[in-house]
């Protein structure tokens, strides 16, 4: 579904992505793991077209994403740090996104997370008054709202309280069962254990390995993802 071929991107001297190639298919739940500054977010942003890569290309359902934009209607994106127009209320932001994205009246909106996170009570609050966690909730609700076939979650649980983060996890599992492609970047490996089917490990903008979780467990002889990754990092 998403195929990246020798993607490179540098910011000045820093090489954020270096000949990065990877393939993600439908029904997979992929964990993007790597140390800080290993290019996870840059890779996510290149998929979304927010960062334009220097060389290489990315295809989405067989179509090159360069100069293409319709494909983004199939993606739900939850940024690492959600930034929203400061003087809009939550309600206005949600309404605006619905207005901009909804193509026909038949589209069913998935308002599960809005209810789960009890955002309905906060609809009149301005974005600048929100705490980091509430902003994350809004980001999550927006990512799932339009029933996208691909979900890209950049550190989804960072800043969420344990209850909310559990709710979000349940939601991710639910969507995974529907056969969606889910890309998660996270540092909290213990949370990924019961979510992911594949692991992409990045280091300094390059791909270290891309394995299924079973394969990884067999290779390292560890049961838990966190320990398996720790093993890899030590090697």
């Amino acid at each position: 579904m998403i195929i990246a071929t020798t993607v490179s991107k540098s910011f000045g001297k820093l090489k954020a992505l270096n000949d990065f190639s990877v393939t993600c298919n439908k029904g997979e739940c992929v964990a993007l793991i790597g140390p800080n500054g290993s290019g996870k977010t840059t890779f996510i942003k290149t998929i979304l077209g927010m960062v334009v890569c220097d060389s290489g290309f990315i295809t989405f359902n067989g179509i090159n994403i360069k100069n293409n934009w319709q494909y983004r209607s199939q993606i739900g994106y939850m940024p690492q740090i959600g930034r929203y127009p400061e003087n809009m209320t939550i309600g206005q932001v949600l309404e605006m996104m619905k207005d901009l994205r909804k193509t026909s009246k038949q589209d069913i909106l998935d308002e599960d997370l809005i209810e789960q996170f009890e955002l309905n009570m906060l609809m009149h609050k301005r974005m600048r008054t929100l705490s980091g966690g509430t902003k994350q909730k809004v980001s999550a609700a927006l990512a799932f709202l339009f029933n996208p076939t691909v979900l890209i979650l950049d550190e989804p649980t960072a800043g969420l309280d344990p209850v909310s983060s559990e709710k979000l996890k349940e939601k991710i599992i639910k969507e995974k069962k529907k056969g969606k492609l889910i890309l998660i970047s996270s540092h909290i490996l213990s949370e990924l254990d019961d979510l992911v089917t594949q692991v992409i490990y990045m280091q300094e903008g390059s791909l270290c390995f891309h394995k299924t979780i079973e394969q990884l467990k067999v290779d390292t002889g560890e049961e838990k993802l966190a320990k398996a990754i720790a093993q890899v990092m030590l090697q």
């Binding site: 927010m50 930034r83 929203y84």
Partner: protein, 255 residues
């Protein structure tokens, strides 16, 4: 696209500066026309102020607005929208609000006190200048990532167009006063939309006689229909070229 423009305009209206700007222009126009018993003189006074204020507000407000809506732009870029559409909508939203403020603030008083061709050209020039400087502001913001630097660039650009350029022209005129440079001056004046606007209006006001030989040469060129046509075309270029360059830049910008 219409939807994005709608949100930009709503956002600009919500921030009350645009309303304050409109009221300021309105108060200014009425007081100037009220002070002068001759409305042509009033128009001349208004012209001088408008040629300073309109580019300044247009340039600085647009620059700050774009920097402040960086979150909004980021949000839109990750959605199924073309980048071209987003940028063009920002431009249209800003240009619409600026033009609207100018029409209400200065257009209506001018039409009330001086409803002739001179007044009409004055409104047209004011509108064009408002839009031209929105377009220049967009170019300045897309080229500089840093907010303080971007606003600094915008202010410097305004200083250049309103003050420095005239200084350079005076310098040229004095240095080459022995040569017949009047015709070249016509070409040089095309390099600054504010000057171009000023000349176009002054010539319509019959004060060109005061400008001596240069005035006569200017009248020869700008007074004709072709001259007028070319000048408006140049003003349009001032509007479109920075916009196109900024769209091209925005298409490759990392957010």
């Amino acid at each position: 696209m219409k939807k994005v423009i709608k949100y930009v305009v709503i956002d600009i209206l919500r921030n009350k500066i645009m309303i304050a700007y409109t009221l300021f222009l309105l108060a200014l126009s009425f007081s100037i026309f009220g002070l002068e018993d001759n409305s042509a003189k009033g128009l001349l006074g208004l012209l001088n102020i408008i040629l300073i204020i309109v580019p300044l507000v247009s340039l600085v407000f647009s620059t700050i607005y774009i920097y402040n809506s960086i979150e909004f732009i980021e949000l839109l870029v990750s959605q199924p929208l073309q980048r071209k559409t987003i940028w063009f909508s920002l431009f249209t939203g800003l240009a619409l609000s600026m033009s609207f403020a100018f029409i209400i603030g200065a257009g209506i008083p001018v039409l009330l006190f001086q409803p002739d061709i001179t007044g009409f050209i004055m409104i047209l020039i004011g509108l064009l200048l408002s839009i031209i400087f929105v377009s220049i502001a967009l170019l300045a913001t897309v080229k500089t990532r840093d907010k303080a630097k971007g606003i600094g660039v915008a202010i410097l650009l305004w200083l250049y167009f309103s003050i420095l350029f005239d200084g350079l022209i005076l310098f040229l005129v004095f240095q080459f006063s022995d040569y017949p440079i009047e015709k070249i001056m016509v070409g040089v004046s095309m390099l600054n939309p504010i000057d171009l606007g000023r000349i176009l209006i002054l010539l319509k006001m019959d004060v060109s006689a005061l400008m001596g030989y240069t005035g006569a040469i200017f009248n020869d060129f700008f007074g004709t229909r072709t001259g007028m046509g070319i000048s408006f075309l140049v003003l349009l270029c001032w509007m479109i070229i920075p916009l196109i360059i900024s769209i091209k830049n925005f298409n490759h910008k990392d957010l």
